[in-house]
Symmetry: C2
Subunit: 306 residues, 2 copies
């Protein structure tokens, strides 16, 4: 156990949760805060889908299906299957228990609670001690433009399985997103911030775009982890998204996005293009042991700095 008071992670939906899975074997959950991307949220399945928040919630609650890295392990799909039977196209397979969380969140939002408050309530009811913090409390949506079609990121990634060309990545919002007070406070109270190995374009950048985040990060010790090994992402559509941003889908391309606030950059040991000053670690978290190993190495970097 490290003598770390608090680490804040910036997280999307798969890579960073894998790292957090390792970190929580080395720290108490109460010492962890996670600032979560909400730009993939949507009203869906009768409720409010917040996919990255739910992956983090279920991880800490011990409910996460870690074969898919979303949804609840052992969940049933009775509603989803009956919807298909009666001809409704629910393009994301929402589990029955998972749907309860979407419905509960929708009910809280409809009663006027903020997403931060709703997430806090879900943390309490699911027995989560970590601070799980939506990046902001207003709507921001990542849209993908393919030709003349503009679609929600979930449509692009789940319905079309990332198979359509991306002409532009659009962030749609009614008002410029502002990081919540809880997010700024968590970062300010942390010994270090870890930008996890999530998709830079649709997971991490929406967080960085929230007003106040970059300033808060510049005051902290920040470790950022590349989600690429060579020119390929460990998982997900990050390569196509980086290409749409005219950036290489590499550690170097990622570093360029993060360098102004990053103290230590982590790239994979297999990476043939070492970035000067970067730490090379095994970032391929194929099981829990590998997650613990990477988390341990990152916490050692933080310890060294203190």
């Amino acid at each position: 156990m490290y003598c770390v008071m608090m680490i804040t992670f910036l997280s999307g939906g798969t890579g960073t949760p894998k790292l957090i899975r390792g970190a929580r074997r080395l720290m108490n959950d109460a010492e962890i805060a996670v600032v979560v991307n909400t730009a993939e949220d949507m009203w869906f399945g009768g409720g409010h889908l917040s996919p990255d928040i739910d992956t983090i919630l279920y991880l800490f609650a011990g409910l996460l299906d870690t074969s898919r890295w979303w949804g609840i392990e052992g969940d049933t799909f009775a509603t989803h299957e009956f919807l298909r039977r009666i001809g409704e196209d629910e393009f994301i397979a929402v589990g029955d228990r998972d749907r309860a969380v979407l419905l509960a969140r929708a009910a809280m939002l409809s009663r006027g609670r903020t997403l931060t408050e709703a997430t806090h309530a879900l943390c309490r009811s699911l027995g989560v001690d970590a601070r799980v913090l939506p990046m902001c409390d207003t709507g921001v949506t990542t849209m993908i433009r393919s030709g003349t079609t503009c679609m929600h990121f979930q449509e692009y990634w789940v319905r079309h399985r990332g198979s359509v060309p991306i002409d532009a990545v659009i962030r749609e919002c009614a008002a410029a997103p502002v990081a919540t007070g809880e997010v700024i406070r968590a970062i300010g109270e942390s010994d270090a911030v870890v930008v996890g190995p999530s998709n830079p374009v649709t997971s991490i950048s929406p967080i960085l775009e929230c007003e106040g985040i970059r300033e808060a990060l510049s005051d902290r010790f920040v470790v950022a982890v590349s989600p690429f090994i060579g020119d390929a992402p460990v998982s997900g559509p990050a390569a196509a998204l980086m290409a749409a941003w005219n950036r290489p889908s590499t550690a170097r391309g990622t570093y360029d996005l993060y360098r102004d606030f990053t103290d230590v950059f982590v790239q994979d040991i297999r990476d043939g293009d070492p970035i000067p000053g970067a730490v090379q670690l095994d970032t391929l978290m194929t099981d829990e042991e590998k997650s613990i190993g990477l988390a341990e190495a990152i916490l050692a970097v933080v310890e060294e700095h203190r």
Copy 2:
């Protein structure tokens, strides 16, 4: 099999479906139309709950849980139970498959389809040959006032189990309800209309209050069935509701509400207060055989008239 071309039932949620269960053993489903009360509808559980329509749909689809006379037989409650676990008070236990129907209906209404169109689509996807017709396509809600509290009928009946005193029965609607063209056409094409043994105050009267219904009924041969035996309803809160209307909870009290359009009134054989001209039949449908028996007797009355 009777040589009946078409019967239209006016229906609420339990008594009339029991009668229709019998009728459909004697007629083809395609010869049956059901005009259904929608004044107990509400947005609920992430979807649009239309309890009386769903009981009728599930009856014809062979899915109805006939121990409760609502919901789908053998349904699971994973979402409902998880909602309770995370502290959300879903006061009606919506089954997982049942919820799919609520969600599908909500999705269709949100896409701008009318309730009549959505119900027709559900009929097709569930393989229902009968015409299941919402009484109207605009919102009408039966509210119960108890003291200074005004609550949806479902809150009164399900959450409070009918245990609070009723000071007034209120029909809340943005616009005066108008019977749909489909309803008027079904009645016009029918050999007879059967007003089933449903609650006169909250099941049948909302239908009668729709503009055009009484005129349509006055041109038809109408058989109306009392839901009371003596001064007690066979099921449900009809007695308290009749009292709130200052009417006796008896066959006679019911007859007074229906007499201007009713050709033959049916009251129970056990009823000690026979109404002149009424036919006394066994209306206590404790099983399917009893339902068939009552339906057979009513169809005989219709046959006699033709």
